[in-house]
């Protein structure tokens, strides 16, 4: 009885001990490590770890500790994990976030606690606009930007009309809005599917065919992209209605999509063959460290997130209590990004190029993604005017 009393007392003391600006840089990383999209989280973790290797696992002279948390692709779980990282682990930075709905659920906790945040994928319009925040940065894009680039490309190709299909959640709505804002042809129809549970798109494909549109645009990240392409090919639409995509074909889904993905274009701010030195090193070292795997754009953004954090910590020589100095340092985007140089808008979203990627057969017969052209130079998201920050 007495022992347990002392034990309890000791535990309370241990928990209550104040967080000192410690000897380590603590980073919390929220992503999806279980379920059908675990492969994405895995790639982000691999790339983040590789970036730390390249940094000598130190930032500003202090060792780095990363705590990875699994959101299970669920907004409520993501929010809990974010709270845990901020309130009990007291991390200096929080990074990651694949899904826009998970990010939106977690954002308030981050902003209220004034934790420095680097978003490595999700780009909901709200974060670029009215919910922008001084300590929140993104190394990815705002959701609308990539499909906007695709819409531009479709204009260049002279596509007359399109049928839009996407998942019914924050990112899906942004993506379809993005294409609609730049595509000059006729929108013959748009369909939203239940996310993430709906995996059968037969009803939507039938409607697309019946609409008489000249083409289809889809946004289906992760495994859903494989399923969509399977069903699109099986329905015999490949010859009738060419497909245009955003975030549907990447190095993780391609080995499962196989021939179905051949010749299906996508827009992207990073492709594995971008010719800058940092990118060559990233791709080569990734493939060496993780044999059999290839980095994706999710990974590239996570790699950049680690580099951006490092640039901030270096600027304050490891004293992470100087948040405003770190913010000022991060706004300069003063690091070698694997996508090439870019600038931050005043809403802390990247202003960057978007490229056209295509699926081609490699010399050894395996399928690979390749940059074909630059669609837009220095694209800035269309929500930055709504951001009150200066």
């Amino acid at each position: 009885m007495r022992t347990s009393f002392w034990l309890a007392g000791a535990t309370v003391l241990a928990l209550a001990s104040p967080a000192v600006a410690g000897d380590t840089i603590k980073i919390g990383f929220v992503s999806t490590f279980s379920g059908p999209t675990a492969a994405i989280g895995n790639d982000m973790r691999n790339s983040f770890e590789l970036a730390l290797d390249h940094l000598g696992r130190k930032m500003g002279g202090k060792p780095v500790e990363v705590i990875y948390e699994d959101d299970g692709q669920k907004p409520d779980v993501g929010k809990q994990k974010t709270e845990k990282l901020i309130q009990s682990d007291k991390v200096d930075f929080i990074a990651g976030y694949i899904w826009s709905n998970v990010l939106l659920a977690s954002l308030k906790t981050v902003v209220d606690s004034k934790t420095m945040m680097v978003i490595a994928n999700a780009g909901p319009s709200q974060v670029a606009g009215e919910l922008c925040s001084p300590y929140v940065f993104s190394t990815s894009w705002q959701n609308d930007q990539t499909p906007q680039a695709m819409g531009e490309y479709m204009n260049q190709k002279g596509v007359k009309s399109v049928f839009l299909i996407g998942p019914n959640y924050a990112a899906g709505k942004d993506m379809l809005a993005g294409v609609k804002s730049t595509f000059k042809g006729e929108i013959k129809g748009e369909e939203y599917t239940v996310w993430p549970s709906q995996l059968d798109f037969s009803a939507e494909l039938s409607k697309a065919r019946a609409s008489g549109a000249a083409s289809i645009f889809v946004f289906y990240p992760g495994a859903a992209g494989v399923q969509f392409l399977n069903q699109y090919a099986q329905a015999g639409l490949k010859a009738q209605m060419p497909l245009y995509t955003a975030f549907t074909i990447d190095e993780l889904s391609l080995p499962l999509q196989k021939e179905n993905a051949l010749g299906v274009p996508g827009a992207q701010q990073w492709v594995n063959d971008l010719p800058n030195e940092q990118n060559k090193k990233f791709v080569a070292d990734y493939r060496q460290k993780y044999p059999g795997l290839r980095p994706t754009f999710y990974g590239a953004q996570s790699y950049d997130a680690a580099q951006l954090i490092a640039s901030a910590v270096e600027a304050v020589k490891g004293d992470t209590s100087k948040k405003d100095e770190m913010k000022a340092a991060m706004e300069k985007a003063n690091f070698k990004s694997v996508r090439g140089d870019f600038k931050f808008g005043k809403n802390h979203m990247p202003i960057q190029n978007f490229y056209l990627q295509d699926v081609v057969k490699d010399a050894d017969g395996s399928l690979a993604l390749k940059t074909v052209a630059t669609i837009i130079k220095d694209s800035q998201d269309k929500y930055h005017d709504k951001c009150p920050m200066k």
Binding site: N42, Y192, V194, S197, A203, K207, A210, Q231, Q234, L256
Partner: protein, 305 residues
């Protein structure tokens, strides 16, 4: 009009696939009074076996048959090793144990096949769209699913209603002590029923695999629908499961297909396209709620205990 026919086929195909899953579940639940949450794991295992065997043999049909046998065997082993010790416990214990099995299977698959999932490519003769009427094309593979599922449904009906073993199964469902007292090996019978249920789940999984992907946890979402179906159809009733599955498949597909257009008549276009998917996924559960209020025992209840 052509669109209606196409959507009708989509609904039928989805419904029949759900039937295969629900049939196994209703057999095990209705006859053995055993709640098997791991039914979805057997569906997943069927798909993984098929992807493996098809890659190994290079022949889709042969690989699928091998996978079917493997799932049957897996079901029998599972029943023999783990589940038969639970029959005398109450339902909460069933749920706990079979939930544990879901976790077990998910991690076993992760260990054996890795986290990334597999692809099950179709042979070329199944990938071409088939012309069912002038101007109406339908994926040949989806037609094949409709055909196979209908044949299996007929076979199942014949076995349960017209053969001696089917008679024993039905008798076991009505009164398991009595059939045991009459000298029938009820344990063996249960093992067979469970194996049959597993094979049906495996068949559903392997047929769905080329349309979707073979991945960890693929059986969990669809299992919920299977439970809804056996509740609507009446627990233990194959006929009920069949009709309820077709019903649910139709409501789901036609709801997704036509609800957005209906809503656009009254709402703005964006509001309608956002609300429609949410609403159409609720329809099935609304139906279940109505059935539970009007006929709590289901639409086509099996014989009374």
């Amino acid at each position: 009009m052509l669109l209606v026919i196409e959507q009708f086929l989509n609904g039928l195909q989805f419904g029949l696939l759900l039937f295969l899953l629900a049939a196994g579940l209703t057999l095990v639940f209705g006859i053995m009074d055993f709640v098997n949450l791991a039914h979805g794991s057997l569906y997943m295992m069927g798909a993984y076996f098929a992807a493996t065997f098809v890659a190994w043999t290079g022949n889709f049909i042969l690989g699928a048959l091998l996978a079917l046998g493997a799932t049957l065997l897996l079901g029998i082993v599972l029943e023999f090793v783990a589940l038969r010790h639970l029959y005398n416990r109450d339902h909460l214990d069933h749920v706990l144990a079979t939930f544990g099995l879901i976790l077990f299977f998910n991690d076993a698959v992760r260990l054996i096949w890795g986290p990334a999932g597999l692809a099950l490519p179709l042979p070329p003769w199944l990938t071409v769209p088939f012309q069912i009427m002038p101007g109406v094309y339908y994926p040949a593979y989806r037609l094949a699913i409709i055909g196979v599922a209908l044949v299996v449904a007929l076979l199942l009906y014949f076995v349960v209603m017209r053969t001696r073993i089917g008679m024993l199964i039905r008798a076991g469902a009505s009164n398991r002590e009595m059939i045991g007292a009459l000298g029938i090996n009820i344990k063996l019978l249960y093992t067979l029923v469970f194996g049959l249920g597993a094979a049906l789940a495996g068949l559903a999984g392997l047929m769905q695999a080329p349309i979707l992907t073979v991945q960890i946890g693929m059986g969990e979402n669809i299992l919920i629908l299977a439970f809804v179906i056996i509740v609507i159809g009446g627990i233990g009733s194959i006929r009920g499961a069949f009709l309820a599955a077709i019903f649910v498949g139709m409501i789901d597909t036609l709801g997704r297909a036509f609800l957005p257009d209906l809503l656009r008549q009254v709402l703005s276009s964006t509001a309608a396209s956002t609300a429609a998917p949410a609403l159409s996924s609720m329809l099935i559960y609304l139906l279940m709620a109505i059935v539970l209020v009007v006929r709590p025992e289901g639409l086509f209840p099996a014989g009374r205990r």
